[in-house]
Symmetry: D2
Subunit: 157 residues, 4 copies
Amino acid sequence: MTPDEPDDNLYRNSLPEQVAAYMLGNDLLSQSLNMVITTAKLGYSVLEMKVDARMLNGFGICHGGVITALADSAFAFACNSRNELSVASSISIEFLNSAVKNDLLVATAREVMLKNRLGLYEVQVVNQRNEIVALVTGRSYKLQGRYVIQEDRQVEV
Amino acid sequence: MTPDEPDDNLYRNSLPEQVAAYMLGNDLLSQSLNMVITTAKLGYSVLEMKVDARMLNGFGICHGGVITALADSAFAFACNSRNELSVASSISIEFLNSAVKNDLLVATAREVMLKNRLGLYEVQVVNQRNEIVALVTGRSYKLQGRYVIQEDRQVEV
Amino acid sequence: MTPDEPDDNLYRNSLPEQVAAYMLGNDLLSQSLNMVITTAKLGYSVLEMKVDARMLNGFGICHGGVITALADSAFAFACNSRNELSVASSISIEFLNSAVKNDLLVATAREVMLKNRLGLYEVQVVNQRNEIVALVTGRSYKLQGRYVIQEDRQVEV
Amino acid sequence: MTPDEPDDNLYRNSLPEQVAAYMLGNDLLSQSLNMVITTAKLGYSVLEMKVDARMLNGFGICHGGVITALADSAFAFACNSRNELSVASSISIEFLNSAVKNDLLVATAREVMLKNRLGLYEVQVVNQRNEIVALVTGRSYKLQGRYVIQEDRQVEV
């Protein structure tokens, strides 16, 4: 970046994009599973992850915990997209189809409800053939007066 | 082991112990998270896992997917403990307390119901202070005529 | 009906319609709550119910058990729509908005998965303003070789 | 009651008992299903209900919605036992055994967690042979500054 090219990342990147990038940047687990953010909007996020050998369980298919981790990260990015710190209080996961090595999984989280401090999110995890691997319901709770990115840090993102 | 000490592992180890050992032995994800089986009985299993830096999310606490992975493995070992191949159809997870780096988590899975081909399991995940980190309900489905350890492989375990 | 007008109900009504009508005809609880079937197709059903004073809880809003009953009946009609006897193994319900006296609730159940003997259904309950009152996930189990309407009874429906 | 016997109900009855009695007294649905409170303590309640013909579904067994209603009322009395108005945000129900006409069902709700404004409750529904009919997880949300029984009404209970 030269002085002639101002860093307008701040202005280009929406708040949900900043928050998701900040969260993933500090999320060693999601990084180790090679999760990639493809979309981050208000109450909405899309993550991709390729299933590799490290993610398999004793039956040679992708471990349920890994599929849950992907869905949970997508849920976390969506429910924190307004920069108001929110935590998962519970999740329910339906496993519809197995995922195997080299599958490319896409998790799409969308906000269904936001009321008082409670949020409800649905996450759909599909494979590269658009078959549903898992359907997830996430319930979030917004902590009072806490933020993902602090005001003074936000400008640095 | 000297020649004088015959390997009587086979006779000492119960079927649930053989199945759990076999499953974990092929489960790269659970191995990579350093899960250790401490008990394996019919419809019952206990796993331990120490939280390390790789398991943290963007808020510096243990990622929900990792806690789920631990509970899911305990559930899998319990619902397959009769050597009849069973898969998770769905799980529900309540997050009660965060886990942080260096916490020692213990997941105890117990069978609540086994009826037709359906199984219901409850998993409790606690930390080293016996505080509940998560409560998990797992629902399993037994596949017809399929086994975790094949008859002829079983004697080799 | 005059002799000139043959009862061709049997030929007009599809199997899902016959099953739903048969089930509701024997379902005293759903009848007592004045549930009405508006659609019955394969893996799909729609029920309506008007909230009356008898259905209210101590806070003067529709009791969660009544909303669940409506969703559960819609789920039951959908998962039995092939005339293969299926039972609910579990349901999860998210309450989004209260329902009050005189609200007209519409529950729409649709099949998400049918695999081996397991079924997965989503039910959406909305009010007359199309606001979501509840989102329900139903898990069903198909009993082997059992039918809702017996062959010889079916022709009499 | 004679003049010699002062009405000391107020002093005999604990706050949870007052709240549960007040709630059931206004709960037409629970009354119509003949629910009876047998215990009401802090974060804990026990309800009984006898299954009658009106509660049956098309298969001649107790409708899932009725079992849910019983569990949901027990959950509601437990999560409101401190007189701080709380509502159910979601519930999950596992159906283990059918209930039939004349069964006496007992629902026991106990508090598992209360943190910030979130509550987590487990309800067990058993029949007269102590067989588990259903296991229910209830999630509650406490509304700010609202009470079940108002201060000035409380003394009149």
